[in-house]
Amino acid sequence: MTAADVLLLGLGAVAVGSGLLVVTTRHLVRAGLYLVVCLGAVAGLYLVLTAELVAWVQVLIYVGAVVVLLLFAVMLTRAPIGASDDLDRPGWPALLVGGGAGLGLAALLVDAFRWTKVDLPEAGTAERLGTEIFRSWVLPFEVLSVLLLAALVGAIVVSRPDIGTRE
């Protein structure tokens, strides 16, 4: 086993473990904080696989913005310190769906690749990603940006009831 393998295994264990804690903990805000750890570990996985840019995008967007928004929303509504015992979570269906999807995908991937060795592509630097996105993937990129723009406009319309009402 190389150092990269050890790192991958370790970070993967951290990601899975903190991910489990996110869904099992009874502390609402701590669940969000475990999510920070989980997403950070995933960013670490990207780093080990030499996808630098994706790793730091993950930190900037998910840790720095998405989780913070999530925590912000939780704290605005109800965020007691200590365990909340009145959480009603559909435990079994969630376990079935989540566990089934996870194990199924794992089995599929393990079966598909067996012991095939895949060489790491060149490092995912900003330059290389830029070339890829704006050469081979321009159309998906543009479609995605239109989709995001539509979502943005939609969010503004939904959050402002005074738009579109006629007296």
């Binding site: 805000v29 904080l33 630098e52 840019l53 730091w56 930190v59 900037l60 913070v68 925590l71 310190i81």
Partner: protein
């Protein structure tokens, strides 16, 4: 030089910078503020003009009792000051001091790394605000989160403008590509980046989250002793980091009037301290913004200006 020796020297250099620069800035803040307000400031500690005041403060903080409120979420409460401090230490790793690899660790995407890691600081503020079990702290934490999320956008957009102009995300690369006329061309981005940066480290006039006249001390209300000192240190390191990023991105880093090759580090330091001085100056000059004014400034002024600057940069870049 063997790899391990080089690594040790680099890390030690960054740690020394991390331990000294914030103290110098902190001491400068005491003295500059005092003189601007017509008083002397610290005069006794260390005999000569109170140069050892912050060391004395540090000793005092270490001796104080470390109180955790009974209702607080203990582990989260105790972890928050560290989460506030560590990101800034990491950012110092990638800021170049001079040419020829005089940098903790030259990253290909240093700018991106710096912005991403600075953004993690919000989590610490939310953690401390919530875990204190104090409504003033919680309000402070929420205000800080709203402010940091808002100002992150103009900060990143202004930095993106420079990265576009230089054609690279590497911080030494940006300094190398920098030319004096960028001061003119990138001036709006410089303004946006500096203002958003000051807001990002929650310094006055953007200190709504702390607002001592209404929120006691915001998310830091319940902290005492060493943990409080960590928050203070994080604030001073924040000044150094924002000043250094402004220097490297907009003011030409190690480029000076002469002798860039061997005096580069001096030019960088002079510029960093000059920008830090302006940040301190702002604190003494301007009254605190109200929460709605703060958000208005961000979304109605800074973001549009930053977007316009991006368009301008792109146009000039395509034209030349």
């Amino acid at each position: 030089m063997p790899l391990w020796l080089e690594l040790t020297i680099r890390v030690a250099g960054v740690v020394v910078a991390f331990l000294t620069l914030p103290l110098i800035v902190g001491q400068a803040e005491h003295k500059v503020m005092a003189h601007m307000q017509g008083r002397l400031g610290p005069m006794y500690a260390g005999a000569f003009h109170g140069w050892a005041q912050l060391i004395a403060d540090g000793v005092k903080f270490v001796q104080k009792e470390d109180v955790t409120p009974r209702a607080a979420d203990r582990p989260v409460f105790q972890l928050a000051p560290l989460v506030a401090l560590v990101p800034y230490l990491l950012v110092l790793l990638v800021i170049p001091l001079g040419p020829d690899d005089l940098v903790g660790q030259a990253l290909d995407i240093g700018l991106f790394f710096a912005l991403a890691v600075v953004g993690v600081g919000v989590v610490a503020v939310l953690m401390s605000g919530w875990a204190s079990a104090n409504k003033y702290s919680l309000l402070g934490g929420l205000r800080a989160a709203a402010q940091l999320l808002g100002y992150e956008l103009p900060l990143v957009l202004a930095a993106a403008s420079v990265a576009m102009a230089a054609g690279t995300l590497s911080l030494p690369g940006i300094v190398e590509a920098w030319e004096p006329w960028w001061l003119l061309w990138q001036a709006p981005a410089l303004g946006v980046f500096f203002i958003a940066g000051v807001a990002e480290i929650r310094r006055p006039p953007f200190d709504m989250p702390i607002a001592d006249s209404e929120l006691v001390f915001g998310y830091m209300t319940e902290y005492t002793g060493l943990r409080f000192a960590f928050f203070l240190l994080a604030e001073y390191v924040g000044i150094v980091v924002i000043a250094a990023l402004t220097t490297v991105l907009f003011l030409g880093g190690w480029q000076g009037p002469f002798g860039d090759d061997y005096l580069g580090w001096l030019w960088t330091l002079i510029k960093v301290f000059a920008v830090s001085f302006v940040i301190i100056w702002l604190r003494v000059t301007y009254p605190r913004l109200r929460e709605d004014q703060l958000q208005r400034l961000c979304w109605l002024v800074l973001v549009p200006v930053a977007l316009a600057q991006l368009v301008l940069t792109a146009a000039v870049k395509i034209a030349t």
